[in-house]
Each structure stands twice: as C-alpha cells, then as structure tokens.
Symmetry: C2
Subunit: 152 residues, 2 copies
DNA sequence: CGGTTATACTTGAGCAATCAAGAATCTACC
DNA sequence: GGTAGATTCTTGATTGCTCAAGTATAACCG
C-alpha cells in the first residue's frame, strides 16, 4: 500500500531531519519541543501529566522521564494540585517559554523547508485533513464526516 | 502545521497499532516485518546491508542488530560476497519466507482496518502521492538560511 | 463507614535504535 | 605498487522509550 509506505517513510525522513536540527541547535528533542508547545498553548501554561501524555502520544512513564529532563533544565516545574492530591501539574516556566521561542524559529524553518517547499497550500490542507482522519483513536467507530479531497 | 501535527499523530497511532498486533500475534516488530518484505521483493531474496538500511530508513548499525535478531530466529542468514569482501548479503531463508507469509495476513488486515476503512480509494491514492513527495530525500543543508513562511 | 475499583503518577528492568569509533576492504591516483 | 581516501560493516556506550509492578489518592457503593 503506497499510502502506508509513504507514511512510514515520510515520517521517518521528516522527524529525523527536525529532530537532529533541534538537537544540534537547541539541545532538545522533538518530543521535548512538542511537550513545550502543548504547555504553551494550555490555559495557565500548565497540564496534568496524563493529559500531556495523551496529547503527545507517549506513555505515562514516558512523560515522567521526559519531564524529568525538562525540569532538570528548568523549563518546566512541578506544582501540586489542591483539589486532587494524585495529580502534579507540569507548568511551563519563563525560561521554558523563552527556550520554546528560540527553538520555534528553527522548527518553523524546518517545516517550511520540508513541507511548504514541497507542497502547495491546498495540498497541505488536503493532507492535513486526510491524516487527521487517520490519526483519530482506532477503537472509535464513528461515521466519518467527509470533506471531498481530490486535488493532489 | 495541521499536516505536520497530523503526520506525527497518525504515524504514532498506526505504527503503535500495527506494531503491537504483529508482536502479539507473530513475535516480530514492524521494522522486522519491513525488512523481511524488502528481502522478499529483492532479486534472489538478498540484499546488502547498506541498501537494506537505506530502504527501511535505519542506521547501518541498526540494521546489524536487527538482522542479528532475525538470524537468531533463522529467518535470515548471512552470505559472503565473492566480488566484494566487505559486504555480507542478508538472505531470506525459507522459514523467513513462511514467517512473512503468516504475518502478512495480520498486517494486511490491520491495513484494511486502519486505512481502507477510513478513507476511500481515491483519497488513499491522493494521500500516497502527497506523502511520496514528502518522503523523498531531504537535501540536508547545515544551518541553511530559509525564507520565512508563516502559513502552514 | 469500609471495601472494592478506578485514576495519577513513579520506578526498575529491558529493548530497539542511535552515535562514535574502529576494523577490514575496495578504489583511485601518483 | 603504494598509499590516501572512500565504503561496508561491527561494537561499546548511551538514549529515549516501553511494559510491569508498585504507591498513593479518589470515587463509588453495599
């Protein structure tokens, strides 16, 4: 299947490129970046670890270890939750915010180089829509509301 | 931007699903499967390790260790090359061929479940075409000055 | 209440892949 | 022919994640 093969290959190529660029220039992983972005966009720049794990598609333990790294660098800090003693908030620090801003420059350049230089903006829309449908949780059997995409 | 997020998410969801299915039912990794397929399709069911690495987007050392596992199971064997003593062919064995045939059943079912159940065949064609363009060689420039493009 | 079940998170062990370095071999050019 | 530079492959150390198990807290329900 061309689509499946393409997905494997394009993912590998792109994440490799983005990841090594981020590591080389900013010393952070693509996953790290992804987590920082999620926090940045979250209300109060904070999230529960479970939700974070869900958002970036990692395991609970994966998030624990990833956040350990980010905390060690001072980009994120823990904060206990008043209403539920089980949860510890992951909160983006000011220095984390700055780090993200720096890295974003590189990352956006990479996106530009790898995506927008290769596909037109209609094609990107179409791609985003198709991938969006593939990415949803597998156990849900919802009837797909469809947009037609034939431009490619 | 949506396309990039979608790529990350859909890749994660699908490979996770396929991988765990393959492990549960056949005790092989998705990468293992990928390598077996490459060998199956290669002339004489054999490939140089470098080409294999290139085909499945792994490092040379990654391939070495992966093949170690497959050899231990007896699905692949080494074969030295007459004309160039540096290369060792990775050759698919008969039992490797059988293993692949078994796994293919599961794998094709997964593809059907995850792909064809969600997208029409025209959509899949379009997707395959778009991803194919993204997956080609990234043309790595070190720290390239890139035009700023804010639409993604 | 008190007991079961579910949720949030951490920890130890393991695994597949990576990078960096090295060994063996081929190629090319003087 | 000899040496310098590629090319192919392996190995040791490390990384980033997973799974399984464990702790602690919350929610439900007789």
């Amino acid at each position: 299947m061309a689509a499946w093969g393409g997905l494997l290959r394009s993912h590998a190529t792109m994440t490799r490129a983005m990841n090594s660029q981020l590591i080389a220039e900013h010393g952070i992983t693509l996953s790290d970046y992804d987590v920082l972005i999620q926090l940045e966009n979250a209300p109060d720049q904070r999230m529960r670890r479970v939700d974070l794990a869900n958002a970036v598609l990692l395991t609970a333990s994966g998030i624990t270890r990833l956040l350990d790294r980010l905390e060690a660098e001072g980009w994120v800090c823990k904060h206990s939750c008043k209403s539920d003693a089980r949860v510890t908030w992951a909160v983006l620090t000011e220095s984390g915010h700055q780090k993200l801003a720096e890295a974003a420059v590189t990352h956006h350049a990479d996106i530009a180089r790898l995506f927008t230089a290769r596909l037109s903006s209609e094609e990107l829309d179409a791609l985003g829509c198709l991938l969006g449908r593939l990415g949803s949780r597998p156990e849900v059997h919802s009837v797909a509301p469809v947009a037609d995409i034939s431009a490619a």
